[in-house]
């Protein structure tokens, strides 16, 4: 029973893979048949073409934009477009006046509205705050403890925390919050949102009260080193805001209320979140300082933990919040693929030739085992294809020519997992093990290496995906995708297949063309027929025989003790028995 384990597990694992593939195919087929998506991956701008929109930025109150504002405009648009999925839009300026956005497909009315909207900045009081991760299900407020609705007295009142707001707040996960986008929440309602992680500070989530001061009430914003009491310059960076008349009046009332919370909670040592107000841009919190004093002159100063760069960023954001740039779509026309069809064609032809070379090389190097490589690559290819098609549907992931090339390159890294594995098996065979034991031992050691090295790739993919923008983000996506497909294939296909193959006669007896022939590998088999078992003389003379058993052994130094040899023999014999049983 225990010994039939590996074979059964291997078969079950292969069934899981089939089930996974079928499930993915079913979803793709469902999407394609219902007309919601297609059978093929969505293609990016360079391969398929799309829509080109020329946008004229308009700054309220003044006719034209300067170069600085134009760059800001590009940045805003990029955030908004990237927020709508991994679409690899091309964004550029034209003639120093306009912003040109080219995106694949036809943008929906929603996307067009999003692009046209002006930046939305406002100030809201904080009602409560927490770490940027969702509260575990078990620790969430039970339904009967959720607050009953009451009428809030002011914007900071905890009465805004209705049952729905509390539920939304507890479930919110800052890491999945859209990167860009320009959602417009109702300014008279509370808002549940995040301050994204930045500069080593973790993400924080907030429940904010209704809008109190609007971005348009900011006259200007500057940044600089903080002035001490006697006019001396300190080393602390600070951001200064200047409000207009309306803003000054409202901000005075707000800080009066917030400063009360600050004083009541024990001043500097207290940590009542209600003493904070949040500066919100496009529904994301930029900064949430505490009101340390009542600001009567409309010139608040924000301090604390700024670097020169972060102070400049916040000050810039405050300024363009004050000067909301809106965009007028001047023209919107379809555009053909920027790369000629022949680029894709040649790329695919060359890729196929390359693949063929890989097949020839694997067969040459690994004989019949090479087929396992080839089939594993085919399985990886199918999984990747399905995943890309699905993600095109769900995430608007689009394949560019760079992406196609990236996938072709991934062949090398995927094949490496098998190569590492096969080489470890061969190493075990060189030690004189039977194939069944060699596969199991080789796998144990190869698994570590494969996991450690794929972790590096996944890390690169995750970091670049979350930090970078534009093309780089699309690349990170492809990299992560292929790394995951690779792991799935090694664990769910290559290893179980080898477990089964090791029990066949062709591989188990080390046929000349199996690629696992112990003779070619220079191994001296344990059992050499006619009752002869490998003896110490067959091995190179060595120093002391060591019975030390350790997880990571030094196999070149290692020699088998009698006990180990018997164990290996027993294992090999039992392995053969099992194979016999399973064949029936």
């Amino acid at each position: 029973m225990a010994k039939t384990g590996p074979t059964r597990v291997a078969r079950r694992t292969l069934l899981w893979l089939v089930a996974l593939t079928l499930a993915m195919t079913a979803v793709v087929a469902g999407g394609a048949l219902s007309g919601a998506s297609g059978w093929t991956p969505k293609l990016a701008l360079d391969l398929e073409g799309g829509t080109q929109m020329i946008l004229a930025p308009r700054v309220e109150g003044s006719g034209s934009v300067n170069a600085d504002q134009l760059n800001q405009a590009v940045e805003i648009i990029r955030q908004r477009v990237d927020g709508s999925g991994v679409s690899e839009a091309e964004i550029t300026t034209q003639g120093g006046r306009n912003v040109v956005v080219a995106m694949p497909g036809t943008p929906s009315q929603e996307t067009r509205n999003l692009i046209q909207a002006s930046a939305d900045m406002n100030f809201r009081p904080v009602i409560t705050a927490g770490a940027g991760t969702p509260v575990p299900e078990a620790q969430r407020t039970p339904a009967d403890k959720l607050p009953k609705p009451t009428t809030p007295k002011n914007a900071s009142d905890t009465a805004w925390l209705t049952a729905d707001v509390v539920k939304e707040f507890e479930a919110l996960d800052c890491s999945t919050l859209d990167k860009g986008g320009a959602k417009r929440s109702d300014p008279t309602k509370p808002l549940v949102t995040c301050q994204p992680a930045a500069d080593g500070q973790p993400a924080i989530k907030y429940v904010l009260g209704p809008v109190e001061v609007k971005g348009q009430d900011i006259v200007t914003s500057t940044y600089g080193l903080q002035q001490g009491r006697q006019g001396t310059v300190t080393n602390e960076w600070a951001v200064n805001i200047q409000f207009n008349g309306d803003g000054t009046k409202i901000f005075k009332d707000v800080t009066q209320r917030l400063n009360n919370f600050y004083v009541q909670s024990g001043g500097d040592s207290g940590n009542n979140p209600q003493a904070q107000f949040a500066i919100v841009l496009d529904d994301k919190v930029l900064s949430a300082p505490r009101a340390l004093a009542v600001i009567t002159d409309g010139r608040p100063q924000i301090t604390g933990n700024f670097t020169e760069a972060s102070a400049k960023t916040l000050s810039d954001q405050l300024r363009y919040g004050a000067l909301p740039i809106s965009f007028e779509i001047q023209s919107s026309e379809s555009i053909s693929a920027t790369l000629g069809g022949e680029q894709l064609q040649m790329g695919l032809v060359a890729g196929l030739i390359g693949l063929l070379l890989v097949v020839v090389y694997s067969l040459f190097q690994y004989r019949a085992l090479g087929f396992v490589t080839v089939f594993s690559l085919v399985v990886a290819g199918i999984l990747t294809y399905l995943a890309i098609t699905l993600l095109g549907w769900a995430q608007n992931y689009r394949l560019s020519l760079a992406g196609v090339a990236g996938l072709i390159v991934a062949i090398g890294q995927t094949a490496d997992s098998f190569i590492v594995y096969f080489e470890r098996i061969r190493d075990e065979l060189r030690e004189g093990r039977g194939l069944v034991a060699a596969v199991e031992n080789g796998w144990r050691r190869a698994k570590r290496t494969v996991l450690a090295s794929k972790a590096v790739n996944l890390l690169a993919a995750v970091v670049l995906y979350f930090v970078a923008v534009g093309n780089v983000r699309g690349f990170a996506f492809t990299l992560g995708l292929t790394a995951i497909a690779d792991l799935l294939v090694v664990f769910l296909f290559t290893h179980p297949t080898l477990l089964l193959l090791a029990r066949t006669r062709f591989f188990g007896e080390g046929h000349r063309f199996s690629g696992l022939d112990p003779r070619t590998l220079g191994a001296i088999p344990l059992y050499r027929g006619a009752g002869r078992v490998r003896t110490a003389e067959d091995l190179q003379p060595a120093g002391a025989v060591s019975g030390r058993k350790s997880g990571a052994r030094n196999e070149a130094e290692r020699r088998m003790t009698i006990a180990e040899r018997r164990l290996a023999e027993r294992e090999a014999a039992q392995g053969a028995e099992t194979a016999g049983k399973d064949d029936k």
Partner: protein
């Protein structure tokens, strides 16, 4: 032939055949330092990289009411005026063509307008030109750079935790840096245009070279796990043996990785000339080869060198020396 290769693998495995990666570290380091210095000096002396239209912006021509929307016509017209350019031609809404090139001089702009008008059979006033800004602006580069730094720091931490020594992290990162610098140097020396595709290639190379190093280092970790109690080989010899034992893997993996890339580079891009395919495959081709070599010749010897002075290891080396002088009379070991 395959048998020969298998024997090669066997001999590397047992230590019968051995290439001295660690022992000759000085030579490899010297070569690496020279190549890195050249790669850094080349762009400095040349005044920077040959950045593409996506980074610097360029000229854009719009041809309206064209007779044919064939993109080839536009590409040929550009090549008549500027031979080396890699123009991007697209068809916009019906019968308008958009042609983007690197920034042109006034004379070139006039020439190209005429050439395009002729190619598409329109009058000169139907060709308009303007300047376009970079699509890969400073904000994209900045975010990519931040991502890169965060990744390298986290990768260093990950490796230090996994291998339980920061010296492996340092050696791996150094190997990766050498790979990156030399790959970039090839672009500078060959005056190849740096495009977003090339940058994507550099990033792929970055993750590939670290990946490759981790695989080899994991074997080193296995071989040196019992170093304190073993008197068979010194630490440096164990490192060298591990590199030799994984040499077949290194050769096979880099071959499998490079074959498709080489096919794209030499067949695909060779026939088509400059373009996304060439930029990407060139960066990858160079990077994969250099990355594999850097693991063998830079990262592994550097790791052995970083640990050479550790008291535990020098004591162990002495023990190895003692044992060897004792068994000298016995037959030589394989």
């Amino acid at each position: 032939m395959s048998t020969v290769f298998a024997r090669f693998g066997n001999e590397l495995y047992t230590g019968k055949r051995s290439y001295n990666f660690v022992g000759r570290a000085r030579i490899w380091m010297l070569i690496a330092v020279v190549l890195v210095a050249v790669s850094i000096l080349a762009p400095v002396l040349k005044g920077g990289f040959n950045l593409g239209i996506d980074f610097r912006g360029g000229s854009e021509f719009t041809v309206s009411n064209v007779k044919s929307t064939d993109q080839r016509l536009g590409e040929d017209a550009v090549h008549q005026v500027i031979q080396t350019a890699a123009p991007r031609v697209a068809n916009i809404a019906g019968n308008t063509m958009r042609i983007q090139t690197d920034k042109l001089s006034d004379q070139q702009t006039v020439d190209l307008s005429a050439s395009l008008a002729k190619a598409y059979g329109v009058t000169k006033d139907q060709v308009t030109s303007t300047f376009v800004g970079p699509t890969w602006g400073a904000d994209v580069s900045q975010q990519a750079l931040i991502g890169l730094i965060v990744f390298v720091l986290l990768a260093a931490l990950l490796m230090a935790l996994y291998f339980r020594t920061w010296k492996m992290s340092l050696a791996a990162i150094a190997g990766m840096a050498v790979t990156q610098i030399i790959t970039a140097g090839v672009f500078a020396i060959g005056d190849f245009e740096v495009t977003p595709s090339a940058i994507i290639g550099f990033l792929t190379v970055l993750s590939y070279s670290l990946y490759d190093t981790v695989v080899v280092f994991d074997k080193i970790r296995e071989n040196t796990a019992d170093i304190a109690t073993s008197t068979r080989r010194t630490f440096a010899e164990e490192v060298n043996l591990a590199v030799n034992q994984t040499l077949v893997r290194s050769i096979n993996t880099s071959m499998v990785a490079v074959l498709p890339v080489a096919a794209i580079l030499f067949i695909g891009a060779g026939l088509l000339g400059a373009g996304t395919l060439r930029d990407l495959s060139l960066a990858l081709f160079v990077g994969i080869i250099v990355g594999t070599l850097a693991t063998l010749f830079v990262a592994a010897p550097l790791y052995a060198w970083l640990r050479r002075g550790e008291s535990g290891l020098t004591a162990q080396a002495e023990k190895v020396e003692q044992r060897r002088s004792r068994v000298e009379a016995l037959p030589a070991e394989a």
